[in-house]
């Protein structure tokens, strides 16, 4: 009896601080944020309420931006996940010095320089940036190409570059867990190299593919820095609209409603992508 009490006290001591961080600094703020999204605002004051007015307004005024954000996030997540799988597969299948080099480069670019990377792309893609000055310098084009920067394409390019390492690592982890003997068995039973990939490798990567897709989708859907710095006026995403509710416009309940609408949309898209992956890669 005393042993059990001592054990439970030890559990509290070990788990308590982490649970407090998760509870008070993650779950509670999110719950409160959800509650606030049902409040209303009068004269810059939040009034407790249980109104759906914020959500109706979001659906009426921001359906377009939400769809645009979901589309661009889905494109970025899909491109990143596919490229990341190719790289992860290369690290896994090639191994050796080249595999170690790819893995090392991935791990190093994973950390560090979120803001630095984005503004560096601005100077790479800009009117007087690296690409344009090189192209003009080489005489390949007469005028600098303006369209490189301040376009949805620039946002896709920058975020794919930023997110790739995040997507490569879980996929590499999943590939490492694949039993190499099962691959030989598939070959032995008549599968071509492509068949092995389809039947014995990809189905085991579904959770990791879904994780990579989800991570890239969510980080894109919630980003306001990249569209602000390289997207230009035609690439306003939900992150920008949400952020502005906490700056100039100062409507926290509306901002919260926008956030949760975006999150729910994201979860739906991610869920659909996951279901699709499971369906197409299921064992037959």
């Amino acid at each position: 009896m005393t042993g059990r009490i001592r054990a439970s006290w030890r559990s509290v001591a070990l788990m308590g601080p982490a649970a407090a961080v998760l509870g008070f600094l993650f779950l509670l703020p999110l719950v409160w944020f959800l509650v606030v999204s049902f409040y209303r605002v009068q004269l810059f004051q939040m009034i407790p309420d249980a109104s759906l007015a914020n959500y109706t307004k979001v659906l009426a005024d921001y359906a377009g931006p939400i769809a645009f954000t979901a589309a661009i996030a889905a494109a970025i997540a899909a491109i990143t996940t596919v490229l990341a799988f190719v790289v992860a597969h290369m690290i896994w299948a090639r191994g050796g010095a080249f595999g170690a080099f790819l893995l090392g480069a991935t791990l190093l670019t994973l950390f560090g320089g979120y803001l630095v990377k984005i503004y560096a792309w601005r100077t790479i893609l800009g009117r007087e940036g690296v690409i344009n000055s090189t192209l003009v310098g080489l005489g390949l084009v007469k005028q600098p190409i303006d369209a490189l920067l301040y376009s949805p394409t620039a946002v896709v390019l920058v975020l794919v570059s930023y997110l790739l390492p995040f997507a490569i690592l879980p996929l590499y982890g999943a590939l490492r867990a694949v039993d190499p003997v099962s691959i030989e068995a598939a070959r032995d039973l008549g599968a071509t190299p492509a068949g092995v990939l389809r039947d014995a490798v990809l189905p085991l990567c579904v959770p990791a593919l879904a994780t990579s897709f989800a991570l890239c989708f969510l980080l894109t859907a919630g980003d306001f820095v990249t569209p602000r710095l390289v997207g230009g006026t035609q690439t306003f995403m939900m992150g920008n609209f949400i952020e502005s509710q906490f700056g100039l416009r100062m409507n926290v309940p509306l901002g919260a409603a926008m956030t949760f609408t975006t999150l729910v949309t994201s979860v739906c898209v991610i869920g659909a992508a996951w279901a699709g992956l499971r369906h197409f890669l299921r064992a037959k």
């Binding site: 030890r10 559990s11 001591a13 070990l14 788990m15 601080p17 982490a18 961080v21 998760l22 600094l25 993650f26 509670l28 703020p29 999110l30 409160w32 944020f33 606030v36 490229l83 190719v86 790289v87 290369m90 090639r94 080249f98 790819l102 791990l107 190093l108 670019t109 994973l110 950390f111 560090g112 320089g113 979120y114 803001l115 630095v116 990377k117 503004y119 560096a120 792309w121 100077t123 790479i124 007087e128 940036g129 690296v130 000055s133 310098g137 790739l164 390492p165 991570l215 969510l218 980080l219 919630g222 980003d223 306001f224 820095v225 710095l229 992150g239 906490f246 926290v252 919260a256 956030t259």
Partner: protein, 255 residues
């Protein structure tokens, strides 16, 4: 032929991921104020310009305070939790890891705004402390992941034999567990620090007044072309990538 193509593709991807960082570092030493090729010469002027800014010292100090505290606290808290998780049955420990990993999936903007509105409701004044608290949410999951992975392949017979030889639980931790996982703990702390130092979004919303290195970058971006931004970027990248590289090296040691 296929191998050459795959190597070329791999190198292109690495270039695609690394190019922005490499260019910032390169141009921080370049004479020209514009980031164009060919470079006209090498200089340390932009570093001098950065050091002579009034707001640089404060931003550096704030960054160091936040990063140091977050690294220490996140590692301590995360390690305790990982020790608990390592003793759970596999299904439960997977659930715990998933639950504690949730903040990693949350866009920083959402995390920042949720915490900001809770603090506003409770009446907490924004300061370095609020930034540190918020940073714990997304650095702690990394510590838990790294340390519990290490503890999972920790031979329990070592702990049992220490107990058998007369060591109490605390003595076991101090004389057996801790010395063995120490490199991993340093690694986890460095990763937490790297993430904290690099954070812009959460810091931006929760710092109230003052700057950290990333918010200083943001400020400089809004005031037009200032090439010392490359020097500042290089500084941030050196700290974060350096810490991460050291962490990887430390956690590899055991293999």
């Amino acid at each position: 032929m296929r191998k050459i193509l795959s190597t070329a593709f791999g190198l292109a991807i690495v270039a695609f991921m690394l190019a922005p960082l490499a260019l910032v570092v390169l141009f921080s030493f370049g004479k020209s104020a514009l980031m164009t090729f060919p470079m006209t010469g090498l200089t340390l002027d932009w570093y001098r310009a950065l050091l002579s800014r009034d707001d640089f010292a404060g931003a550096l100090a704030n960054s160091l305070i936040i990063t140091g505290t977050v690294g220490l606290v996140a590692t301590a808290i995360g390690t305790l939790a990982a020790m608990f998780i390592a003793r759970l049955r596999p299904a439960r420990s997977a659930t715990a890891i998933f639950l504690f990993g949730l903040p990693m999936m949350m866009p920083p903007l959402v995390l920042a705004l949720a915490i900001l509105s809770l603090f506003a409701m409770v009446g907490v004044k924004l300061s370095l402390v609020t930034v540190i608290l918020a940073h714990l949410t997304f650095t702690m999951p990394f510590v838990i992941l790294i340390v519990s992975a290490r503890l999972r392949d920790f031979n329990p017979a070592m702990v049992d034999s220490a107990r058998d030889l007369g060591a109490g639980p605390w003595t076991v931790f101090r004389t057996v567990t801790f010395p063995i996982i120490r490199p991993t703990l340093f690694g986890a702390a460095l990763i937490a620090m790297s993430l904290s130092l690099d954070d812009f979004v959460i810091t931006f919303f929760l710092i109230g007044g003052g700057n950290t290195l990333p918010t200083l970058v943001w400020g400089m971006l809004r005031t037009g072309i200032d090439p010392s931004i490359n020097a500042l970027g290089t500084l941030i990248v050196t700290f974060t990538v350096g810490a991460a590289a050291l962490a990887l090296w430390l956690t590899r040691q055991r293999a």
